[in-house]
């Protein structure tokens, strides 16, 4: 069945040749390093400045890189490349960059600025003074708020609704998004007294969107609660709907004034508050 070949493959001459150095560069380095311009990592020109006459330091860095520049990503180790090849890469870089001048780095410009988004909108992102599962909501041109989906509660109300996501996006989440508005209210605990007293963690259910704004839903034991913040003629309204009967005494919202307590067709209680004017 098997047909023997006329010669021994064991003595075949297909001995692995060393990979050409430009191919090593293409396979391992080029995705992040350019000749004369910082991109993901420093240019060859800069590497030449850093390591000229110091091949051993270059090899050491390749094997055990560290994070050197704020905002830049850490280079993965090049441990998989044999030391001889790293030295060949070193010589290659030194030769290629010889006499070349560095161009200015790519400008730190956001090509897709979130600051230009028209409210109303929702953007989940890292923001300071709130949990990692935060929801930023631009209500209108004047108001925004931050709702913490981890704790199921409002965290901040801001005057001014723009947000700059670039600090987050350029560092892959290694910085908070920059809120452009002024924080005019911070809520440090749940408005539901029972949640505070009994140290309950409500379960986040999600949200529905109507007119561009979310109605945030969560569950406390068997009770479903929803919260919706809107703005009407410069006034911020906050409606808390409790599925079933509820009394305003169960709530405590410093900074807000209770405007009405009503019931919908299903018998759910709707408590509507307005943000007190500062």
């Amino acid at each position: 069945m098997r047909r023997l070949l006329p010669f021994l493959a064991a003595i075949s001459t297909a001995v692995a040749e060393p990979t050409p150095v430009d191919e090593l560069w293409t396979m391992n380095c080029m995705a992040c390093h350019q000749l004369d311009q910082m991109t993901v990592g420093p240019s060859m020109v800069e590497m030449r400045k850093l390591y000229s006459g110091k091949p051993e330091l270059f090899v050491k860095w390749c094997i055990e890189p560290e994070r050197k520049r704020p905002g830049a990503v850490e280079m993965p180790s090049m441990r998989h490349i044999p030391e001889d090849d790293l030295l060949r890469l070193y010589s290659y870089i030194m030769a290629e960059a010889d006499g070349v001048r560095e161009k200015g780095a790519r400008k730190d410009i956001d090509l897709y600025p979130t600051t230009k988004k028209e409210p109303p909108f929702v953007q989940r992102i890292f923001v300071d003074r709130s949990g990692p599962a935060s929801i930023f909501v631009a209500v209108d041109a004047d108001y925004a708020y931050i709702w913490d989906a981890g704790q199921c509660r409002l965290r901040q109300i801001l005057k001014g609704s723009a947000i700059d996501g670039w600090p987050y996006f350029k560092g892959n989440g290694n910085a908070f998004a920059a809120k452009k508005g002024e924080v005019i209210l911070e809520e440090d605990q749940s408005p539901i007294i029972a949640v505070r007293d009994q140290d309950i963690t409500p379960a986040f259910l999600g949200y529905t969107i109507s007119d561009g704004l979310p109605t945030l839903r969560y569950q406390i034991g068997e009770h479903n609660v929803s919260e919706r913040i809107t703005a009407v003629e410069g006034q911020l309204n906050r409606a808390i709907t409790v599925h079933g009967a509820a009394s305003a005494e169960a709530f405590d919202l410093p900074g807000f004034t209770l405007k009405s307590t009503t019931a919908d067709d299903a018998g759910n209680t709707i408590l509507t508050y307005t943000l007190a004017k500062s």
Binding site: M1, R2, R3, L5, F7, L8, A9, A10, S12, A14, V15, A16, D22, E23, T26, M27, N28, M30, A31, C32, L35, V40, M44, V73, P76, S77, R79, H80, I81, P82, E96, G99, V100, Y112, T114, V122, Q123, R124, I125, F126, S130, G131, P132, A133, I135, A149, G150, F169, K170, G171, N172, G173, N174, F204, L205, G206, T208, I209, S210, P214
Partner: protein, 507 residues
């Protein structure tokens, strides 16, 4: 002075051209446009029942590309770093975003989502930038699986976290683990990657019957790829780094530890030890070795989503597993070797290698007509943006490629899709090496050597090659270099270097 960029460019083009020929002989590769004003990094990609493409973008938009109008429309927005998308029906998708698995529906049929339902968020977040979340993948019974990245000591944690805090580690308190000016002095004590909130480094199962999510498997580092192969195996890819000598693909085992130790502390039965204080030897005995090792700098540096080629599509590659790859201009085809009992192992081969595909290959999706879409990203590392479209040509059934590699007691049996020129089979070379398993970032090749081949033989029909090797070693990677191999009609292989992971030897 010759411009280096030009030099590299032309070198890359000529290299790519030589390689691309074999692929573009059988595949049409082009791009679809991306929407104006949207950061075109793709976190999730799928096709809808009507054939339209749906994509989740880096900054949280979910948009639909109409095949009819060739225009994009917004389905949903505002998501937090979505990194996976699964279509439930024409109006409903599941998206894995950083903080939760979310079901997003258009309930009133106006083309825009109105309902964002939290399906699963009972896992921790420290606010560390590296805590990505991937998935979901769905099994035949409707259970969902998501994968949670561990944190990186490139930064500490944020003042506010979600979930329980584990005090296991040299830095026990949250205050010590917080990012501040002195983080650089403390970071080594955190471990290169850490999992101080649950279930970082785990694959979680969300049962179809609505019962509580199950911590399903652990030992993952950066599992940016989760999916099922055509035979229902749950595959997860992981990225070279600490405890990962090279990138790899795992066949996930329920309850199994897959090698990165940070996640161990969230095992129910954990004894409270700091995994970083355990010996590599002890951890090695606990771990499930990867089914496929993907050598860094040669095949894959940062593998992504596995996907099964649908039945009846891509000719001889029908039902094969393809895996995305970020840094090399190729996908990876993984061929499991089912002949080794109780062990998952197999061969990995570059697929579509060359410039037309390019780098940054992150998310893969097929439509019913057999078009493969590849969504690209970079996330500020190496990569690309946009969506590449790949369609097989009519001649795909005649493609010359490796159909399978079976490890036998005394060598490898390579099956081909077309008859080989037997003379060229003698030019196959095999190299072997293994890797270290340790806390260091990546590993050099260990004990690299040329494998001693006996007499290579070819079956009468030219479809099988046997490579006799005297001493095949367990836990070794065999690089089978078939660059000199030619079909009987003179063609080159589509994918001419195979990397076979011998977890075990054949009995």
């Amino acid at each position: 002075m010759i411009s280096l960029s030009r030099l590299i460019c032309s070198a890359a083009i000529s290299l790519a051209a030589a390689q691309a020929d074999v692929w573009t002989d059988h595949f049409d590769i082009d791009r679809i446009p991306t929407p104006q004003g949207v950061d075109p990094q793709i976190g999730g990609l799928a096709t809808l029942p009507n054939g339209d493409v749906i994509a989740a973008f880096h900054r949280g938009e979910v948009m639909v590309y109409s095949q009819e109008t060739e225009k994009w429309s917004t389905f949903a927005e505002g998501l937090h770093e979505p990194l996976g998308l699964l279509v439930e029906d024409q109006n409903t998708v599941l998206i894995m975003q950083r903080p939760e698995l979310t079901r997003i529906s258009d309930t009133d049929g106006d083309g825009t989502a109105d309902t964002y339902e939290n399906v699963y968020d009972d896992f921790g977040m420290t606010g560390n930038y590296h805590e990505f979340a991937f998935g979901p993948a769905k099994d035949a019974d409707g259970n969902l699986y998501v994968a949670l990245n561990v944190a990186s000591n490139g930064a500490g944690i944020r003042p506010e976290i979600r979930g329980d805090w584990s005090a296991i580690g040299d830095l026990t308190t949250r205050e010590e683990m917080e990012s501040d000016r002195d983080w650089g002095k403390r970071k080594a004590k955190a471990g290169r990657m850490y999992a101080r909130v649950p279930y970082r480094g785990w694959v979680m199962q969300i049962p179809a019957d609505g019962s509580a999510p199950v911590p399903y498997a652990h030992g993952f580092r950066s599992p940016d790829g989760i999916g099922f192969d055509a035979d229902g195996r749950l595959l997860v890819t992981d990225n070279q780094g600490d405890w990962l000598a090279t990138s790899k693909v795992h066949h996930v085992q329920k309850g199994g530890f897959h090698g990165h130790p940070a996640s161990l502390i969230w095992r129910d039965d954990w004894d409270g030890r700091d995994p970083l204080k355990m010996s590599a030897h002890e951890l090695d005995k606990m771990r499930i070795p990867a089914a496929g090792l993907l050598p860094q700098g040669e095949l894959a540096n940062s593998p992504t989503q596995p996907i099964a080629v649908p039945e009846g599509i891509f000719g001889p590659f029908n039902q094969h597993t393809l895996i995305g790859e970020m840094n090399q201009p190729n996908l990876v085809r993984f061929l499991p070797d089912t002949g080794i009992e109780h062990v998952s192992q197999g061969a990995a081969i570059a697929f579509l290698k060359g410039k037309p595909l390019g780098i940054g290959n992150h998310r893969l999706a097929f439509d019913a007509e057999g078009t493969l879409y590849v969504g690209k990203t970079h996330l500020s590392w190496a990569g690309d943006t946009g969506i590449v479209r790949i369609r097989a040509k009519d001649n795909i059934s005649s493609a010359f490629a490796v159909a399978g590699i079976a490890l036998q007691k005394d060598g490898f049996k390579i099956t081909l899709t077309q008859p080989v020129d037997a003379e060229t089979a003698a030019k196959i070379a095999v190299n072997e090496h293994t890797y270290h398993y340790f806390a260091e970032y990546g590993s050099p090749k260990v004990k690299p050597a040329k494998a001693k081949l006996g007499e290579i033989s070819v079956s009468n029909d030219g479809l099988e090659i046997f490579l006799p090797i005297k001493k095949i070693k367990a836990r070794y990677l065999y690089t089978i270099d078939m660059r000199q191999l030619r079909a009987a009609d003179g063609r080159q292989l589509l994918g001419d270097i195979a990397y076979y992971t011998a977890v075990e030897t054949a009995k």
